[in-house]
């Protein structure tokens, strides 16, 4: 603790010391921020964009599209989740682990985060159902449908 010595020094130099501290801290934080920003930027692509850009296997990306009807399958024992997502042009097979989110449905939007494997199948580390922003007008007499397919 060198406070006693420092406080007896002339004011200008302690001010300068503070300034240097602050600048150092600023540079450190800026470095930390910029470095982490570039390493954690995850691109958000459609299946077609991902195909056109030839995204290398292993690069973390997010894919957005609609769940292709008839493809959503969940095996409860192995907890394997398989489905296809599509942007209308390109289909991508997605393989995930764990139960599908409650909001995930066929023909509804989904965003998957993960990476392509060498086999071209997308390994999803997270699956997010993209819920619609506006609710459709209610249809009279409609009962809620239960269950995950």
């Amino acid at each position: 603790m060198a406070g006693a010595e420092r406080s007896t020094q002339p004011r200008l130099s302690s001010r300068r010391l503070l300034l240097i501290f602050a600048l150092l801290a600023g540079v450190l934080v800026a470095f930390l921020a910029v470095q982490n920003l570039s390493s954690n930027a995850v691109y958000y692509l459609t299946p077609t964009e991902a195909r056109d850009r030839k995204i290398a296997p292993g690069t973390p990306i997010r894919l957005g599209g609609l769940v292709v009807p008839g493809t959503l399958k969940y095996d409860p024992q192995s907890r394997t989740l398989v489905f296809g997502i599509s942007d209308g042009t390109t289909n991508v097979a997605v393989l995930g682990t764990g139960a599908p989110p409650a909001l995930l449905q066929e023909n509804a939007g989904a965003v998957v985060e993960g990476q392509f494997g060498e086999d071209g199948i997308f390994r999803a580390s997270s699956v997010i159902a993209k819920h619609d922003e506006k609710y459709a007008p209610p249809s009279p007499g409609r009962t809620p449908t239960h269950g995950t397919p």
Binding site: M1, N36, A99, A102, E133
Partner: protein, 666 residues
């Protein structure tokens, strides 16, 4: 007359009143005209009354299910319980802006009738600024972008509130707290602008609005914690903070406001940092508007995207005007804001506060960078991307630890600088406590260097606070012959600002420990089990006893009945999937057994829809997470104690006589 006519009539009448009042206040401030001031005052009050009437009309429409109003049709249904009907006022954009307008009009009326009496010229100028803002918000709620009373052809039944918003009573608390916090900061901002306009070099604006800033800050802080609690209890992912843009929008103004509350003391005690404090107030206010813009315009892709609307350009315009005007004013007045003297030694309270300010601003800027970067990148390159959570964790956690460290040092140092003896006296016990904290963390099996460091720093800060309380109480016991309890009560009452602040620090310590422990020590398991089977998670055994359907008036549920035993627990939990008739989505509703040691958090992830024979459940054992909400409460209590009016200082003669009852507070 319908609710819609009544409500929209009230808002349309309030707009010219507010504009007139703004003009009258400007005239009153520049000509020192008493009649114009009276006119401005009555305008502010009348505008408030009209907005209150509009809010009542909206509530009337909601409660009576008047589906001729689009907002009611979209956010209410006949089966919606009364409680959620009433709080549907803030379930969507237009109602939220109406609530915002109400709070702003209330604060404006308060300034009109109290503030202009305390400081006539400054208060009147601030009133003009506030009435200008009220006018803007009234303009918003009377344009199609955010008109809450737009009429439609009535459907037979409404959509009901967003399922996520009618699943938990915390929804009644969290948005209004945030709005109050956001909006009340308009008052310090208005006074700061008034001070710049009038060219006052002093800190009168700051003293006059100290309490407003503190209350606003406290509400925002408690609102943020309540929001994370809501997220935890409703969204069913087992977490409470995701660095979602909506969360960032709330925490950024809170961070800058925290910096401001501390640097204010430097200005009061040392007459330093004047332009800095003005900048912080402007930045806080601008961030509240930016937050509203980000969350309400749908510019950011986020789970809160239900609040998209055409309001974006208007809010952005408002933000730009505010920034240009206030920064321009600040630059114009900069010459008269120069500080006298400088910061003393590096180990003085002002130096630590300054350093703390730098860290708070750095934290804000890095959150801002991570939040805006995707938008900027998309605007420039057309490429959509997102910034992953690790960015925020890696950048903000070290900054938070630095702040925790400074929180233990700053209040312990005297102004101007400390001699060595003082340092030893102040820091011996806390340093020993820090070592003890680290030891406890290691013995308790806490993983991760950051988590152990958090424990050490938390113990360090807690020890400084306890030490301060002990010394303060001992001083009162010796000087006034008070008992322990009386000494504590008097300490809080007479020096509430200081000791309330220490209580806030204690709350932050509790939050830090809760966050570090829950992040580092969560155990989780996802497993598919048949009814009657069990799963082992940490020390607990979770048994699926039944899967059953349940029906409530406004919704259907599929419930998993779980029994949790082991480690002294015997709990029945009921995680469910909830189906609302007007929504195609099922909403997960977690089953939580909250405890002081840990929470058992269960989620029904999937189930056998045919025979109800199996379910995939996710179980998380999250240590100490309940202490996070408790820490938020402690922060709130500390803020209240700090904001309460302190009794006037008594004369020496009075102080010598050990009277139990002080002079009555004003």
């Amino acid at each position: 007359m319908s609710w819609a006519d009544f409500g929209s009539g009230a808002l349309r009448a309030a707009l010219p009143v507010a504009i007139w009042g703004c003009g009258a206040a400007i005239y009153a401030a520049s000509k020192r005209d008493g009649r114009a001031l009276a006119s401005a005052r009555w305008s502010a009050l009348l505008a408030l009354v009209l907005v209150v009437l509009a809010v009542l009309a909206m509530e009337g429409a909601l409660v009576s299910h008047d589906f001729t109003i689009q907002y009611v049709a979209e956010n209410n249904a006949r089966a919606t319980p009364l409680f959620f009907t009433v709080i549907s006022l803030w379930a969507a954009l237009a109602g939220s802006i109406l609530l915002w307008t109400l709070v702003l009009a209330g604060a404006t009326a308060y300034v009109a009738w109290r503030g202009t009496r305390e400081l006539p010229r400054l208060g009147t100028t601030a009133l003009a600024v506030l009435l200008g803002m009220v006018s803007f918000f009234l303009l918003l709620v009377t344009t199609p972008a955010a008109d809450p009373f737009v009429r439609i052809d009535p459907p037979l039944d409404g959509n009901g509130p967003n399922p996520l918003l009618q699943n938990h009573p915390l929804m009644a608390l969290h948005p209004p707290l945030l709005y109050l916090g956001y909006v009340l900061f308009s008052v310090p901002f208005a006074y700061a602008i008034a001070s710049l306009v009038l060219g006052e070099g002093g800190d009168r604006w700051l003293v006059a609005t100290r309490r407003f800033a503190l209350v606003s800050w406290g509400l925002l802080g408690v609102g943020i914690v309540a929001g994370s609690w809501w997220s935890y209890a409703v969204l069913g992912w087992g977490g409470y903070w995701a660095w979602d843009p909506v969360e960032n929008a709330a925490i950024m103004p809170w961070l800058v406001a925290t910096a401001y509350l501390h640097s204010v003391m430097v200005e009061e005690k040392r007459r330093l940092l004047r332009s800095w404090n003005l900048s912080l107030v402007i930045a806080t206010f601008a961030l509240t508007i930016l937050g509203t813009f980000l969350t309400r315009s749908g510019v950011v892709n986020s789970v809160h995207s239900f609040t998209q609307s055409a309001i974006g350009p208007l809010l952005l315009g408002y933000l730009v005007v505010i920034l240009v005007l206030s920064v321009g004013l600040l630059l114009w007045r900069l010459p008269m804001l120069s500080d006298r003297g400088g910061v003393g030694a590096p180990l003085s309270r002002e130096a630590i506060f300054l350093f703390q300010n730098v860290v708070f601003v750095a934290a804000t800027l890095t959150v801002l960078l991570g939040t805006l970067y995707p938008i900027i990148a998309e605007a420039i390159s057309g490429q959509q991307l997102s910034i992953g959570r690790p960015y925020f964790d890696r950048v903000e956690v070290p900054l938070a630890l630095a702040l925790l460290f400074l929180m233990g040092i700053g209040p312990q140092l005297p102004w101007h600088g400390a001699p060595r003896a003082t340092l030893e006296r102040q820091f011996t016990v806390p340093i020993v406590a820090a070592a003890g904290g680290a030891l406890v963390a290691v013995l308790a099996g806490i993983n991760g260097a950051f988590a152990v460091l958090t424990y050490a720093l938390a113990a360090f800060v807690a020890a400084t606070v306890v030490q301060e309380f002990a010394r303060g109480m001992r001083a009162r016991q010796v000087l006034h012959g008070e008992g322990r309890a009386t000494a504590l009560a008097n300490l809080l009452r007479r020096s509430g600002r200081r000791y309330g602040g220490y209580i806030v620090h204690l709350g932050i310590v509790v939050i830090a420990v809760a966050v570090a422990t829950s992040q580092a020590g969560t155990v989780q398991l996802e497993k598919t089990i048949s009814t009657g089977q069990s799963a082992q998670v940490g020390p607990y055994t979770v048994t699926l006893t039944a899967l059953r359907d349940a029906t409530e008036p406004q919704r259907d549920l599929l419930v998993a009945d779980l029994s949790v035993t082991g480690n002294g627990a015997n709990e029945q939990l009921h995680p469910a999937l909830v189906f609302y008739p007007n929504s195609t989505q099922a909403v997960g509703s977690p089953g939580i057994a909250a405890g002081a040691r840990d929470d058992i958090y269960t989620i029904l992830a999937a189930y056998d829809s045919r025979a109800h024979a199996w379910a995939t459940i996710r179980v998380l054992v999250i240590p100490l997470v309940s202490w996070l909400w408790l820490g938020g409460l402690v922060v709130g209590i500390g803020a209240v104690i700090a904001a309460l009016p302190q009794p006037k200082r008594r004369t020496v003669a009075e102080r010598v006589a050990p009277l139990a009852v002080g002079t009555s507070a004003k």
